[in-house]
Assembly symmetry: D2
Homo-oligomer: 346 residues x 4
């Protein structure tokens, strides 16, 4: 039984962590931090958790309240968690940060894409990129885990093993990604209004989305040379889910089985990766509310392309679910504890 | 550990029972019956259950396959489960029927509203109406449980205690109910097509919906005299959820607290009933995929009416969830076993 | 050809007026007023109108810019249009106000329900309630038309004639109303976020919604005595449309035909009212983007109730469409000019 | 004033043609053919057209009923319109066929992708591919117009001019396309059920979709050599709209303006093509129910790719709208007659 605190507990990611921990048998929640909802019972904000989470939000004092916990989840917007991360790591305690602040290894790359100065360079150097299935060894020993972005998770899980195992040696990819609206967060703006998103579909941030350097960093590490990704996010009229369609030039004339076998073998013992049978493709509904990543693929001999499709729940495997999985690794709990929920259908 | 079989396992209700039982620690699934999908791996039909349910559908032989089980779930359309119910009860085994066939105590009422002859009158007499919180005592001892309809559950849970306790003595009600499209089942027809239902809203079956006699039967039993309900179902562009808005003439000038206190007391020890604080009203999202029934209410002194609103997930508390809850009662398991899942939000 | 200006042209109602007028053959738009978007091309805000509306938003000076127009549409929130209404009527020009400020005849009722002082009492006395089919005679001669609320329109169109013709003489009604999210406007808040509304359904403002006195005022005028309405609005996961289900005690044992005939006769020459055949009920999709009000009904002999269902598009017949219809009446244009668009299906 | 008949008038495409023609000032509808709904008033099937289309469906006799018309719209599934097309062209009359039967110039290609024999080879040779903006000259003189598929229209409109003008000379493309569910038609199946599609997203038919040869045929004609397209369709939880995201290797180091200028010039006089300003991308809501095709693009210098995005309404510019546009061309009507409707927003 460990004691954890959540910073930013009332955003969608914080709420998902809270929901998961409320059913986790090894965890006691010590505080649910929220500036805007301090003193409000959590169940008054998230009606789904009525009778389940009985705590009240507090505005945490970083100088005092961190002493009582074993692990901190930071679910704050980028730029706002660096101070907390410094303080908690200085106390020799563990932290999982869900912002972008510790994902990019190069300070300059972070500053170029995010447009703000990075003020915790020392911690940056010790951070482990928390893609659970790929870096589980490092995560187990880490004090600071930088939880991956939702889009990167959906692209890296299918691609990383193929590049790492040198099945695919291409250094440029197209990733056409589609996300539900919850990815835009809970802060109201015209972007995430019902009447703007419903019965609508659009691309955004073509060529400039901030998840790009994160995707390229990890693929480059896998391949051992610089990889370039054309990443196009789209906004879909649904609440949850990311579907990524990845296009690869099939220079080595691989067959569907070559790729599938590599993935099956690489992820053989992983409980949250499901490789679909031939001619079956992932759908987001099958992973809704769960921590699974479903992967399907097609080698198109006519065009000489490989098309890989992956599906995750952006708030689960793309954020809170993976964070809890990382906690399980860090504290040597059963990796699936608190994460056994499957998607409801329909 | 008991052994159960599911008839009609590939409809939406059957699939929800399958999902719940796959995570239930006291149950082993012996067969997943399906005429249309016999021999197909279940996970090929319900992709959410890939790696979780590894069984293959079978077309069950009622004369042989019932011997190996302790409990049968019948998730067949009305009229089709009577034979199976006869056979299983004759073997002295337990059955939970999710059709309408054993809900109405009067054969003639059944035949008038459903337009078919009832061929299992004997079993009808022994059936217990499976509204878990109201009839738990009877359910525990029952061999045949008739699982309630989704709309009736949403109306009876808030109203039954008020009539039973004689807080409300009115004998006529208006129930304006709104349901998601999954209530129309999985058989494709124009009624449940995406393009017909999306961005659309309509009333249907005004005054003639088959759940009417079921609602009136139970309310009449509660009040001790004949109750009439004006029941209007509406189809809402969402997948799951029922919200029922019930209007009651406030003849006795009750206050909000009178009603709320009665419900709170009546359901004090019930794990799945949540009575909301004043001025808070239920929303279906808060119960999505869960077995909760949320209830809120308002006494409108200006109009002298009581307005009660309830929310359930039609496939959970309105069908499969309540069926599993009834199983837990029948076999003396923890009432919440397999049903602890809360709604995801958003 | 008349010259019109629109105050508040970038809200949803203002945008709908702009769209309608852009296709109206008797109207020239002189200004599209917007505080927040001044100097921005209108088509940059509303991409549907690209190449169609080529004007730029301006922040209008009420002391100068009203001189050039024949008619002003005020699509501002309640409380903000009184000054403009005063100025334009003082110039002897016509105005259609889409806020609630001139709908309630009693200043005190307005102030009680809206919680702000009314500062244009003189104008209040001359305002005509713009329910086009009911008050067409008065609207034709009016200088100030108070355009009805969306919910009131959906309730009054079916009920007013029945009370006026003394077919129904009941003085209390239940109106269970369901609205799409666009009714909550374009200002972002948690209430109209996609992820909060999608796959969700809830009641709100039970007994306290501000449209209540407007509904009661008009029904009381129709019946000739005080009418009380239990009005419950619900938020539906769709963008447009209101469906109202109205319950009436059938004291006079009317038949379906009695009611239908009264409505058919009353609305015989009205181009936007469609009375459905028996056993057919309105759906919002059939009126989407159009100015129609569809009405269906059922006399339930079993319960002795009359159930009437109406459907409108809340932004069209419930706001902008009716406003343009009123303009057509005021300037003696063909009543359907600019309003011939039918709903697309699916 | 011409006389037209519609074969297959009750499918979604037939219904859209009917809706458009009901408001077209140069057209009289002679028959609305439907096998399944013969003798039923059309407004009983499509409630949006109540009071607007007063005709009754008929099951047309091809040997008699074609004599009275000037133009036939065939909105039948592929394989079923060949007989009608033969008969009507033999009479020297005009026909617009909305199936795939006359789009592919090579009988063998048709038979390979559609798996059925083509039985109207003679007519195939005279058919004009009805992409209005590209082949307007040929369409004006055609007797048989093969109306393009929805996906091909969304891809060809942005790409054809660039290849034709030799701005882009690449011969392989990736087209990642997203479609609303109405593209799956009105025949109920599991594929287009509300509960399967809502809050879900998936790819389908990767590498094998039948629109592939149609896209490649036209791009090859434009470029003057064989073009290969990797075409991936996705199903989006919305009713209408296609968004296509096209990826092109920017070998010639073009700038955004180079491409935009070519398109602007090529479509200068075209009323239905809207090229968006830089950094603005199309959204399907902006074209909903309209005949527009919106195009936006980005040259990504970092990756050396061109990304083009287009949006159409699949039932309008992707089917019925383009068919009516073609009719306007064939009979020398104003090209926009009957097609002036803009999208509603929101």
């Amino acid at each position: 039984m460990i004691k954890v605190g959540i910073l930013g507990a009332t955003g969608y990611v914080g709420a998902e962590i809270t929901r998961l921990l409320s059913r986790h048998r090894e965890v006691e929640i010590m505080f649910l931090d929220s500036r805007s909802y301090a003193s409000m019972p959590y169940e008054n904000i998230y009606a789904n958790l009525k009778h389940v989470v009985k705590q009240t939000c507090t505005s945490v004092d970083l100088d005092k309240d961190l002493d009582d916990i074993d692990l901190l989840f930071c679910a704050l917007p980028h730029g706002l968690s660096q101070e907390a991360v410094k303080k908690i790591t200085n106390k020799g305690k563990k932290v999982i940060d869900l912002s972008a602040d510790f994902r990019l290894k190069e300070k300059t790359v972070y500053e170029a894409w995010y447009g703000v100065e990075h003020k915790a360079t020392e911690e940056l150097n010790t951070a482990v990129y928390g893609l659970s299935e790929i870096y589980s060894h490092e995560i187990k020993k880490a004090n600071l885990v930088a939880n991956p972005g939702c889009y990167p998770t959906s692209i890296l899980l299918p691609l990383y093993p193929l590049l790492k195992e040198k099945i695919i040696t291409t250094d440029s990819f197209i990733a056409d990604c589609k996300s539900g609206v919850s990815g835009a967060g809970r802060t109201p703006s015209e972007v995430n209004l019902f009447s703007q998103c419903n019965e609508n579909l659009r691309a955004y941030g073509i060529g400039v989305h901030r998840h790009t350097p994160e995707i390229e960093q990890e693929l480059s590490l896998a391949l051992g040379k610089k990889v370039i990704v054309q990443f196009t996010p789209h906004l879909i009229p649904m609440t949850r889910g990311i579907l990524s369609t990845i296009y690869i030039d099939n220079r080595k004339a691989l067959g569907t089985e070559d790729i599938k076998d590599t993935l099956m073998k690489y992820y053989e013992k992983q409980p949250f990766i499901r490789i679909l049978e031939e001619n079956a493709y992932p759908q987001t509904k099958a992973v809704y509310g769960s921590n699974y990543c479903d992967i399907g693929l097609k080698v198109d001999e006519r065009t000489n392309n490989i098309v890989i499709v992956s599906a995750i729940d952006n708030l689960m495997k793309g954020a809170a679910g993976q964070a809890v999985q990382n906690m399980n690794l860090m504290f040597d709990f059963d990796e699936t504890e608190g994460l056994k929920q499957v998607a409801v259908w329909p």
